[in-house]
Symmetry: D2
Subunit: 357 residues, 4 copies
């Protein structure tokens, strides 16, 4: 249940304030050169403390590989890796030991397991996404060789939303601002907005849009394992995600079929769709067009405000504002969305390969 994927899999482990976060990637194709700096760079994109609008907590998060790579190349055997946690001061969290924080997993973990590691959310902490970013970076190494590109970006923060189609934006802009929004002006506005929310000790949600380009037609496993069902499940497994839509998504329910259908035509001897309302997937299988989808993140539950709640005995208590908080998870969620998308696409690529005799 801590394993993700079918043929390319990640098994992850680790608590926020335990000794380490890590994982095992299985099914990595053999013979792929591993650019260690690239992987560390990908991991750095989710790191706290990158800018003034994310949590200032200091974590170096250096990934160490333990197996599966020999003389710079993958061997096809499982790749074990870990990131040691630098902050294991459990006393910092003594105030949480007997308290259930609202809209966190404190209560539900206790209900499920009877016990929990209360330090920083333990296993339910978003630090677990470290393992996803490392595995996703490995997946991307393969996808790049196949010519497949995965791009994610912040498209909405609170009320501020990019209008129009992803095609309008230059994806090279994404990494140039701390919000990871491909529109420089909107990025500026979002940044200011997040700053304001932060100063109030509050948090705000948003939407990440993801586009996958040059996926070959024919990836997807009907009927239960449709490509978009796998993408949806992957995204919904990320902390704080509350919704997923692809193609026209929820917006498309207002349209007529005659408006929504993607009419085929032949261009330069190749069958293509005139529009792409379907989001690159039909009947659960990629059709060769861009795959695009949107992921909704709720505002982070940890505030820098006093919070009313109950303790494990059910007695009312107040959690005092303390430490640091992450006003908007979106900038750091972008690389996680990319990582999960990359893992799904590679997994389905391998599945498609398997049936070619």
């Amino acid at each position: 249940m801590n394993t993700f994927g079918n043929l390319f899999t990640l098994t992850s482990f680790g608590e926020s304030h335990g000794r380490a976060i890590g994982g095992v990637v299985d099914g990595m194709p053999a013979g792929i050169p591993v650019d260690m700096e690239y992987i560390q760079r990908e991991l750095n994109r989710r790191r706290p403390g990158q800018s003034s609008i994310v949590t200032s907590r200091k974590e170096n998060d250096r990934v160490e590989f333990l197996s599966g790579i020999f003389e710079g190349k993958t061997t096809g055997t499982p790749i074990g890796f870990l990131v040691y946690n630098e902050n294991q001061h459990s006393s910092d969290y003594d105030n949480l030991r007997e308290v259930f924080r609202p809209s966190h997993a404190d209560y539900t973990y206790t209900q499920k397991y009877g016990v929990r590691d209360h330090r920083g959310g333990g296993r339910s902490s978003a630090r677990e996404t470290i393992a996803r970013c490392v595995a996703g970076a490995l997946a991307k190494l393969v996808l790049t060789r196949l010519g497949i590109e995965v791009w994610a970006y912040t498209s909405q923060v609170g009320e501020l939303s990019l209008s129009g189609d992803y095609n309008r934006y230059d994806f090279d802009e994404i990494e140039k601002n701390p919000v990871r929004c491909p529109d420089a002006d909107m990025a500026k506005r979002m940044e200011e907005y997040i700053g304001k929310v932060k100063s109030e000790g509050d948090t705000v949600g948003g939407v990440v849009t993801c586009v996958v380009r040059h996926v070959p037609a024919g990836l997807g496993e009907p009927v239960f394992d449709k490509l978009h069902a796998a993408l949806g499940s992957a995204m919904l497994s990320i902390n704080a995600v509350k919704g997923f839509e692809y193609g026209m998504g929820f917006g498309g329910v207002r349209y007529r079929g005659s408006q929504m259908n993607d009419v085929f035509e032949t261009q330069q001897g190749k069958i293509v769709a005139r529009t792409n309302h379907s989001g690159g997937i039909q009947g659960g299988i990629s059709n060769g067009e861009d795959i695009y989808f949107r992921v909704a993140f709720k505002p982070v539950a940890t505030l820098l405000k006093d919070i009313e709640t109950v303790d494990s005995q059910g007695n009312p208590t107040v959690l005092r504002a303390k430490g640091r908080h992450d006003p908007c998870v979106l900038p750091r969620a972008v690389p996680v969305v990319e990582a999960m998308a990359a893992m799904v696409i590679l997994d389905y690529y391998l599945l498609a390969q398997s049936h070619k005799l």
Copy 2:
């Protein structure tokens, strides 16, 4: 890949115009009395020809059980079942043999498999949901014994949308109108609207809302198999679904954390949340509150209009309007959403059981 679930599983088979649609349910608990009429009734809810606003195609769809039930009770062994297809006149579909219909799976199946059964969409037809409804009805038999209720209803058709919270509605109203909307007035308006769309040979999309009540706290498997990730994947695997959101969903991204957090309090000696913006799931695990989510359906691609497209050689062609069409899939999608939700909840119930020593 045609198997759904972990411990309670459905393996489905069958094409729209092949001999039969069927499946195998594995992991059904033993000793459960099987009410055959209930199961047939559940299956009838997805049947064409129920009212003037769904397709008038005539299919009796009688389910036959082949195994796993002995002297009226489940035996714990796999339950094989099938529904014979009455309509196997492949000649009706000769015009589709060499044509790729827009926004159907004709093109992608051909890309994936090299061949396809062109009759009525073959495996990609929504007739496959017959197997889901049967399996879901079996799951519901167990859930009912556990006191768990699953309710789905049409909450939006095109522009027409119910406002406000699911708590405002009387779920006993749902089956009283052909739209399966719990608000009688809105149901009337939706019915008229669908009738108009039908008369134009067009189709329209909508949203199904689902509520699951009395789920015990503690169901869900962090981190990749969060309860809502499983629900999302299940819903996204239904034909024509383009989006899934739970709790406040996409709407919640506009709020501040201080507005969204579900504050705990003690009522009658029990810890409860004052609000339920989370949708009954926190950290991927049920918290005992109502689970609710929304599922977006695009308008059906088959129109009763001439449709411009290409044939398998890429030559332009026109598909002539012919036969019948289903102007709005929502009313018949409601039982499918319920069925999938029931299977997920039972599956996760069994998973939770497994770790209690």
Copy 3:
């Protein structure tokens, strides 16, 4: 748990005296012509009543396909199939309703499920192997195209055992005698021996040897899913099997490493092993040599003798000799061993394909 395999899977269902035995094959490659007569012939090899030395019970066992085959070819979608049971006279088995037969699964099924279908063993009956033979025949259709051959034969019945290596025998001899032994003289002796056992109302066990030829090097998934572990599990899942060994097996434990090692040498520019004590698998991966293994079957528990036992209340009782019995399961087990081996090899072939970029 009634599903076998990873990428090529069989989900089976059905009880001995229920309506039907059947299954769903998923992961069958698309575009394979299906020779229906061949499949029926393969199924007939396990049928009762083939000769005087197997049970004389009359079952026609006609397989019907329900999906996944279109215009004579596989479509890549799941293949549903069934064999209707002709004998459903449950009254024939009324004497078993409250009795636990020795060395059958009556007692353990009751312990596990609380209920059981007592008619002819219900789900625990070897009639379930019908589904395996059909799925195995489908797998063989693919293997044949890949040039891979699967041969099984009876190599031991009671004390009568073939001596020496499988290479000494002409496999075309196997189907020429009712014992399915490739040595005509030994077959004659075995046949007489089984006849004698039958006349005494008793049963006897034996060994099936299986040889798989022309498996390409490189199939197998270390470390837990070694190719021989999958083969062993497959064989041990067949009714009455008590042991599995491959290569030199149990016999090899007496040897020194210096005697057992398969020395490599180059023949006609190709690296080959001088001997094949390893049985074609090293480190869990095929090496291109013949794969061979042996499967031990205990004598069938059903005798044509009065049997001392207890009823479900624990009271002593005697089961009176009645009806027919199968003195030696070996001849009918041969096609089942082949079927399981074929499924494993195809499954691992597909797994190996998946990682070739």
Copy 4:
């Protein structure tokens, strides 16, 4: 494919001379106190250098836990662990870089992956069993609480074999001699024999017998996942294993059904079998009697003799005797057999739990 089990799983990673061997245990029940010294002790049982009859290679093999344990108890979240490899001097193995050792996995890994880590067998090394022993020790912690005992011992080395039934031996004797044989006299003879084989630079195989006591009736998943099929697969996945049999196994094929059947009777109000030829499993499900089985190990392929072979170009070459070797793997295999058995039994215990409503 490097993951073992269904609900209690081990995902293992690591090469013989890479940085570390490790794994992730998922599905460990929560709230179990973890006796770290016990686990290290279990791991020490497989360590090289324990006695004069196993390899003298020096490895400390200290296990470090990284997650899933909090304040001395399991939390139900995945348990990551590792053992750092002390010996990473790849130059020691330069002579193997371009050579395929006979009856090792060098050739097959190269065929499968195109590349391999040649140092000490890389991933195919039996050092991988470190992960199994740690996971098995965790499983045993749970089994002990359930009253279930797992015992394995050396029952045969080369020609020297214990005669008779496991009931004749005192299992407390097992750990008192370096061979891990419960008969002190035979242990002495085996030890001398292994010493002689060692002095000749050769190796010898043998058999490990395993007995599992106090397993409750009702564990096992018909039809493909029979309890003994899972045990068999687990054992066959251990390096050097060539055969598995349970109950009367291969020996039982010579008997008549009338001799083999385990007649039920009532003793002290409880239904029991008078004999246990079945090995505690009927129809794939435990019946409450002792489960016992035997595992055949071939002689280790690495000799302390010059070995004739070919290099990766197919040219003849001779591998010169060098370093140390392990004349008989049996003593160190005993804890691995126990570990795998413990994992299977716990996994199936959890599976059985899941279906109790």
